[in-house]
C-alpha cells in the first residue's frame, strides 16, 4: 500500500489541501504535489494499462521519462489525452482518467492479449500482412484497430489560447539543476545576456534530494542564493516550467513553457512556444536512471530507485512499507538511506556486484540493512502489485535462493546522461566504459553557421556524476567535497544466464510492451541495425520515446549480435524531448488569425448584397449574389443570362497588375510572353501567354502599353505574386544588365467590369468619357474621367460581350462601384460572381489557368498557336516546347464537348479508350477540364483535352461518371457561342 507519510516533503505545502478526482473517485493531495505523487499519496498504485498486453501498470518514474502513468485530463474544450501524471502539477478540481482499458482500470478485457502474448511476438504486426492474405483484412486489422491507440482523441475545439515568443540571447542554458544554475551564473557574470530555463516548477534538480552539500551547506541553500542572484541581474531571464524542446541549425532552439497547466485560467495563454536564437546553447539536462531487466520488472510497485527517493523526500509519499532495493551501482543506496530515514522498512539491498564498497554502502550496512552481494532478482512475485521478490545469483540462471516479502522494489541499472538536445543538431556520442553510458563527444559538437561548436554540455548530462564533478564541469566557483563511489557493473539482464521463460517477462519498453525476448527475436530474424530493430519491435517508439528503454534495448541487441555497444550505436534522437501541444505550435495562427484575408474595396458591398463567397488565394470573391429564395445554381444561371441579355457588373480588382517599365521593358516582355509585346502600340492591349522554361503555360492576361517605356501586365488572381517573382528572378539573376523596373500594383487599383449589351449606356449614364465604338475600339485603353473620378478604361472582354474594365485608385473603388450600380439600375444591371464569369468565358471557349492548365499543358495543347510568335528567336519556354514529347501529334489537345443527351459532364471525367492497362484500369484518351450548364444554350457544355482532339471533330467519345456508368459526348469546336465575335465588336 502506498501512503502519505506524516512528516517531510520538501516541495509540499501541507497547509493547502487540494481536491481532485481519478476515474471519478474523489481524492485529496497538497499544493506542491504532482498528480503522480498525489495518486500515490492517496493509495492509488494502479494507474494504467500497457499498450499491447493491457498489463496493469503503476508509476515507474517521477519525471518526464515516466512511461506508464498517462491520463486523460480535463473535459470538453480542455480535454487532452496522454498527459503524464509525473509532470502534471496538482490543482484544485483536477479531473483525470486512466487510459487504454475497457471496461475499467481494475478489470480490463484486453488483458486477454497477455495470455496469447506468445502469438504476438516482435513484428507480429508485419507478420500479419503476409499469410494467409485474407486474415489481415478480416481478422488482424479489425483487432489491431480496436486495440490501437492510447487515450481518446479530443472531440471539441481547443478552448485554450496559446502564443509564441521570439527571442535572441547570447547564452541559453537549458536545465535548472545545480549545473545549469552554475553555468548561467558564470555566463551572466561575464556580462552575457542569459536565458535559463527549467522544465519543472523547481530549481536545483536532483542535488537537494540526493543530499548534496555545496560550500558546506545543504544544496537547497546554495540553489536559493544562486536563483536570487540571477533574478537580481538585468542581463538574465529565468523561467521554470519551460522545457528545451529541440536544438536546430545555427543556434535555433525551441522551448515550451507551460504557463497555466498547474493553475488553469481561461484568459491566460496555456502554453508558450519560445523560438530562440542563441549564440551559445548550454545543455544541463542531467541524467535518467535506467531500469534493470529482471522478470516481472513491470509489476506495479517496481520503480526506479531515484523515483522512490523523489517520492519520499520531495512529496513524503511512501511507495510501500517494505521496499527491496535492487542495484548494480552505489547510487541506489541513497534510496535505502532515504527510506530508512523516513521510518520505512528495507528488507534487503540486492546488489549484483560481488564486492561493493564505499561510504554509501557502509552507511546502509550501518543502518542495519541486509546487503546481499552478487545476487539478483529472479522474479517479482505478484500480478497487479508486488508481493515479494525471488532472489537468485546474478551469475546463475535463476534458481531461487530465497523469497523476500516486500510490497515495492526500487531498481537502479545505472544512469544515462540526457544527451537528446546535444544530439538533435549533429552532436556525436562516445561510450564511457567505466561509467557504462553514452556521453557527448567533446570533439564532435554541433556546429553553427561559422563552423564552430555552439552547444556545450555541463553536469550530469556530460557524464559528471558527483556533485563536485558537476560543479567543476559547470565552471562554478562553489565547491563540494569529493565523494568516493564504487564502480558500476553493467547488468543488462538479471540474472545473466536467465532462460527464455524469464526473458519473456523482462520488460524493456513498458508503454509499448517490448521485452528482452522481443529484441533477441529481432536479432535472430536478422535485424542487425538498431534503427531497424527499433521499428520492428517498436522499442522506444512510444510517447516516452525510449527514455528508459533505449540503452537497455541496444545493450541486449549488441549482446545478441556479439557486438560491442558503441558499434551498435543509438537510434537517432529527434525533437521534441517530450511531446508538446499542437496548440503551442499553432500559437495564435488559428481561426481568423490563421492567415490574412484580402478584401477588395467593394468587399462590404458584396457582403451586404448577398455574396456567396469563394476563396481565391487569400482573397474572398463573390461566387454569386443570392437573391431571396434563390439557390446558388439559380443565381449563377440568372447572372449569366442577365449579363448576356442586359448588363452585368463584376469586381475584377483581384486580377494581378504589374507595371513593367524601362528602356528594355519591351525586350523583356518579349522574352516573358510567347507572343510579341514590343510591337504593341501605346494605347492598345494584347492578350499574352506566359510559360516556364519547361514550356508549360503558367499564366495569362492582357498587357496594356502605357507609353514607350511602360507596360501594365494583368495576371490571374492567383498569379500576381508568383508572376511578379518570376519577372524579378529573370531580371535579377539572368538579365541583370537590362534596364527594367517592375512593381506589383495589384492592390493599388480597384478594377470593375461593366459587361453586356448595355455596358456602353451605363458608362454614358455615369458620364465623363466618350466610350463610343469610334472613340474606343476593341482592345483600346484610355485614361479619362467617369463621374468625376480619374479612371483608366480598358475595352477588353473575357465574356464575348461588349465590355469595359475600369481601373480606379483603390480608395475610389467603392465610390465608382456605387455610381455604376446606381446608373445601371435603369438598364437592368446586376452584379455577377466568379461562377458566372467562368460560364461566360467557357461559352466563348476562353481558357482558364488552373482549369485547362495543370502545369503540364503547353499553349500548343490548347490550340493557342496564334498567340505564339513565330518571329522571335527566343522566349522562355521556346526550347522546352521543341522537345519531342511536347511536339508529339498524339498529345491531348483542347476541344469543346457536347453531351449527346444535353446533360452536364462531371468535372475531371476521363474519356475512356479501348482496352485496359497493366493495372486492369480502362485506358483513357483525354479528360474534361471545364464543364458547366450553359443558360445561354440551355445544355451542358464542356472543354477537354482529347488525344488528337482537333482532328476528330464530330466524333462521339465516352466519359466516365463516378457512379460507374459513362456519358457520350461529341467532339466540337470549343467556341460554343457567337463564334464570329460579333457581340463584342459593337
Amino acid at each position: 500500500m502506498t501512503t502519505r507519510l506524516a512528516r517531510g516533503g520538501r516541495l509540499l505545502n501541507r497547509g493547502r489541501a487540494l481536491e481532485f478526482t481519478f476515474n471519478g473517485k474523489r481524492m485529496t493531495g497538497y499544493q506542491g504535489d504532482t498528480l503522480a505523487s498525489a495518486l500515490l499519496g492517496a493509495g492509488q498504485r494502479l494507474v494504467g494499462r500497457s499498450f499491447k498486453y493491457h498489463r496493469p501498470r503503476g508509476l515507474v518514474a517521477s519525471g518526464a521519462e515516466e512511461p506508464n502513468a498517462l491520463v486523460n485530463l480535463g473535459e470538453g474544450g480542455t480535454f487532452e489525452p496522454n498527459q503524464r501524471a509525473t509532470t502534471q502539477e496538482l490543482y484544485d478540481g483536477l479531473a483525470a482518467e486512466s487510459q487504454n482499458h475497457w471496461p475499467s482500470l481494475e478489470f480490463d478485457v484486453g488483458v486477454a492479449n497477455n495470455y496469447v502474448s506468445r502469438f504476438l511476438p516482435a513484428g507480429f504486426y508485419y507478420k500479419t500482412f503476409i499469410n494467409p492474405r485474407p486474415a489481415w483484412k478480416h481478422l488482424f486489422e479489425p483487432f489491431i484497430r480496436q486495440s490501437a491507440g492510447l487515450g481518446r482523441a479530443p472531440k471539441e475545439r481547443d478552448a485554450d489560447v496559446y502564443e509564441h515568443f521570439h527571442v535572441h540571447v547570447d547564452c541559453l542554458v537549458i536545465g535548472g539543476g545545480i549545473a545549469g544554475l552554475a553555468a548561467a551564473l558564470k555566463a551572466a557574470e561575464a556580462g552575457r545576456e542569459v536565458l535559463l530555463i527549467e522544465q519543472t516548477a523547481h530549481w536545483g534538480g536532483r542535488a537537494p534530494v540526493d543530499g548534496a552539500v555545496i560550500d558546506g551547506a545543504e544544496a537547497d541553500a546554495w540553489v536559493k542564493n544562486t536563483v536570487e542572484t540571477l533574478e537580481g541581474m538585468e542581463n538574465v531571464r529565468i523561467r521554470t516550467r519551460c522545457m528545451g524542446v529541440g536544438v536546430y541549425d545555427h543556434g535555433y532552439v525551441l522551448a515550451y513553457e507551460r504557463l497555466t497547466d498547474h493553475d488553469p485560467h481561461p484568459d491566460l495563454p496555456r502554453h508558450r512556444l519560445w523560438k530562440i536564437r542563441a549564440s551559445e546553447v548550454i545543455t544541463a539536462t542531467g541524467a535518467l536512471e535506467r531500469p534493470l531487466s529482471f522478470a516481472g520488472n513491470d509489476v506495479p510497485g517496481v520503480m526506479l530507485a531515484s523515483a522512490v527517493r523523489d517520492y519520499v523526500v520531495n512529496w513524503a509519499v511512501s511507495p510501500g512499507d517494505r521496499t527491496v532495493v535492487v542495484t548494480n551501482n552505489d547510487d541506489a543506496y541513497r534510496t535505502a538511506i532515504a527510506l530508512k530515514e523516513a521510518g520505512l522498512e528495507v528488507p534487503a539491498v540486492i546488489d549484483a556486484r560481488t564486492a561493493p564498497e564505499g561510504p554509501l554502502v557502509e552507511r546502509v550496512r550501518a543502518l542495519g540493512v541486509r546487503v546481499e552481494t552478487g545476487r539478483a532478482v529472479a522474479k517479482v512475485k505478484g500480478r497487479a502489485k508486488v508481493e515479494g521478490v525471488a532472489m537468485t545469483m546474478q551469475a546463475g540462471e535463476g534458481a531461487v535462493l530465497e523469497v523476500i516479502d516486500c510490497d515495492a522494489v526500487a531498481m537502479s541499472g545505472g544512469w544515462s546522461p540526457v544527451v537528446h538536445l546535444w544530439s538533435h543538431c549533429g552532436g556525436k556520442l562516445v561510450w564511457d566504459d567505466a561509467q557504462a553510458f553514452f556521453r557527448p563527444d567533446p570533439e564532435k559538437a554541433p556546429t553553427g553557421a561559422d563552423g564552430q561548436p555552439f552547444v556545450r554540455v555541463v553536469g550530469a548530462a556530460n557524464g559528471a556524476m558527483t556533485t563536485a564533478d558537476v560543479l567543476a564541469d559547470a565552471g562554478a566557483d562553489a565547491q563540494a567535497a569529493p565523494e568516493a563511489a564504487g564502480p558500476i557493473e553493467p547488468v543488462w539482464i538479471m540474472p545473466q544466464g536467465a532462460g527464455p521463460e524469464l526473458r519473456s517477462k523482462m520488460w524493456l519498453d513498458y508503454q509499448n510492451d517490448v521485452k528482452v525476448s522481443d529484441v533477441q527475436l529481432a536479432a535472430r530474424e536478422g535485424y542487425e541495425s538498431v534503427e531497424h530493430t527499433k521499428r520492428y519491435t517498436t522499442l522506444g517508439m512510444a510517447t516516452d520515446q525510449g527514455k528508459l528503454s533505449n540503452i537497455n534495448g541496444l545493450a541486449v541487441l549488441s549482446r545478441s549480435l556479439n557486438a560491442e555497444i558503441p558499434q551498435v550505436g543509438t537510434t537517432t534522437f529527434r525533437p521534441p524531448y517530450t511531446p508538446i501541444s499542437f496548440g503551442s505550435i499553432a500559437g495564435q495562427a488559428r481561426g481568423d488569425m490563421f492567415q490574412p484575408l484580402r478584401r477588395t474595396p467593394m468587399h462590404a458591398w458584396h457582403m451586404a448584397n448577398g455574396a456567396h463567397w469563394e476563396p481565391v488565394g487569400h482573397w474572398r470573391r463573390p461566387y454569386c449574389y443570392l437573391q431571396p429564395a434563390e439557390t446558388v445554381e439559380e443565381a449563377v444561371q440568372r447572372e449569366v443570362k442577365n449579363t448576356r441579355e442586359a448588363v452585368g457588373l463584376l469586381d475584377a480588382s483581384t486580377l494581378g497588375k504589374i507595371v513593367v517599365k524601362g528602356p528594355d521593358a519591351g525586350r523583356f516582355l518579349d522574352m516573358l510572353y510567347t507572343n510579341m509585346m514590343s510591337t504593341l502600340k501605346p494605347g492598345r492591349c494584347r492578350y499574352g501567354l506566359m510559360c516556364n522554361e519547361n514550356g508549360f503555360l503558367m499564366d495569362d492576361g492582357v498587357v496594356a502599353r502605357i507609353d514607350e517605356d511602360t507596360f501594365l501586365c494583368h495576371t490571374t488572381t492567383g498569379g500576381a505574386e508568383h508572376v511578379h517573382a518570376h519577372m524579378e528572378e529573370w531580371l535579377q539573376t539572368e538579365w541583370w544588365d537590362w534596364q527594367v523596373y517592375t512593381a506589383n500594383v495589384t492592390e493599388h487599383y480597384a478594377q470593375i467590369g461593366v459587361v453586356g449589351p448595355h455596358a456602353r449606356e451605363v458608362l454614358d449614364l455615369v458620364g465623363g468619357m466618350d466610350v463610343s465604338k469610334e472613340a474606343m475600339a476593341f482592345m483600346d485603353w484610355q485614361d479619362g474621367e467617369l463621374g468625376g473620378l480619374p479612371v483608366r478604361v480598358f475595352r477588353i472582354s473575357f465574356s464575348g460581350e461588349l465590355s469595359y474594365e475600369i481601373a480606379v485608385k483603390a480608395g475610389y473603388g467603392r465610390a465608382l462601384w456605387d455610381m455604376l450600380a446606381e446608373a445601371g439600375r435603369e438598364v437592368g444591371m446586376m452584379p455577377y460572381g466568379t461562377e458566372a464569369l467562368h460560364i461566360l468565358r467557357a461559352e466563348k471557349g476562353f481558357i482558364m489557368i488552373g482549369d485547362e492548365t495543370d502545369g503540364t499543358v503547353t499553349p500548343q495543347d490548347l490550340c493557342l498557336d496564334w498567340a505564339i510568335s513565330k518571329k522571335k528567336d527566343d522566349y522562355i519556354g521556346k526550347r522546352g516546347q521543341a522537345r519531342s514529347h511536347l511536339t508529339d501529334p498524339e498529345r491531348w489537345k483542347l476541344v469543346g464537348l457536347e453531351t449527346v443527351d444535353g446533360s452536364v459532364l462531371e468535372d475531371g471525367a476521363y474519356a475512356v479508350a479501348e482496352g485496359r492497362n497493366a493495372n486492369g484500369q480502362r485506358n483513357v484518351q483525354g479528360r474534361v477540364t471545364s464543364t458547366y450548364r450553359s443558360p445561354t444554350l440551355g445544355r451542358g457544355i464542356a472543354m477537354g483535352l482529347i488525344r488528337r482532339g482537333p482532328e476528330r471533330m464530330g466524333e462521339v467519345v465516352e466519359f466516365t461518371r463516378t457512379d460507374g456508368t459513362t456519358t457520350r459526348a461529341k467532339i466540337v469546336q470549343p467556341v460554343f457561342f457567337d463564334p464570329e465575335g460579333e457581340k463584342q465588336n459593337v
Partner: protein, 109 residues
C-alpha cells in the same frame, strides 16, 4: 533553421524569410541548344555532400536574389554574394579554401 546574411540589405535573415532557388551559376541555353545541353540546363543538378553554391531570395524581406556558398553536411556558411555574377568571386573561394582545403564543385576549385 539556417541564417543567411542577405548581401543586398545586410540583414541576417532566418530561413523562414528566405525562398530557396536551387543550384547557382546555371547557364541558360536557348532555342538552338542540343537536346543534351538543354537537358543538362533544365534537369541536371549537383548534389554534393559538402561545398555547394545555391541561389536564395530574400522573399519576405528586400525581395532580392543572392548566392550562398554553404556546406550541405555541416550547414557551415562560407559566405553570401551578389546574384549578378556568373562564377563565385575570389573572396568566397578563398573563404572556402580556408575551411575546406582541396574543395571542388563542378569544374571550380
Amino acid at each position: 533553421m539556417l541564417i543567411l546574411r542577405c548581401p543586398n540589405c545586410g540583414i541576417d535573415a532566418d530561413e523562414t524569410e528566405l525562398a530557396p532557388g536551387g543550384e547557382a551559376h546555371l547557364r541558360r541555353v536557348g532555342p538552338e541548344a542540343s537536346d543534351d545541353a538543354f537537358e543538362g540546363y533544365l534537369f541536371h543538378r549537383e548534389n554534393p555532400r559538402g561545398v555547394h553554391f545555391e541561389r536564395w531570395r530574400h522573399a519576405a524581406g528586400c525581395g532580392k536574389w543572392f548566392h550562398a556558398a554553404r556546406c550541405t553536411q555541416t550547414l557551415e556558411v562560407f559566405g553570401t554574394y551578389s546574384a549578378q555574377v556568373t562564377d563565385p568571386p575570389q573572396d568566397i573561394r578563398d573563404a572556402i579554401t580556408a575551411r575546406r582545403p582541396g574543395w571542388r564543385w563542378r569544374d571550380i576549385e
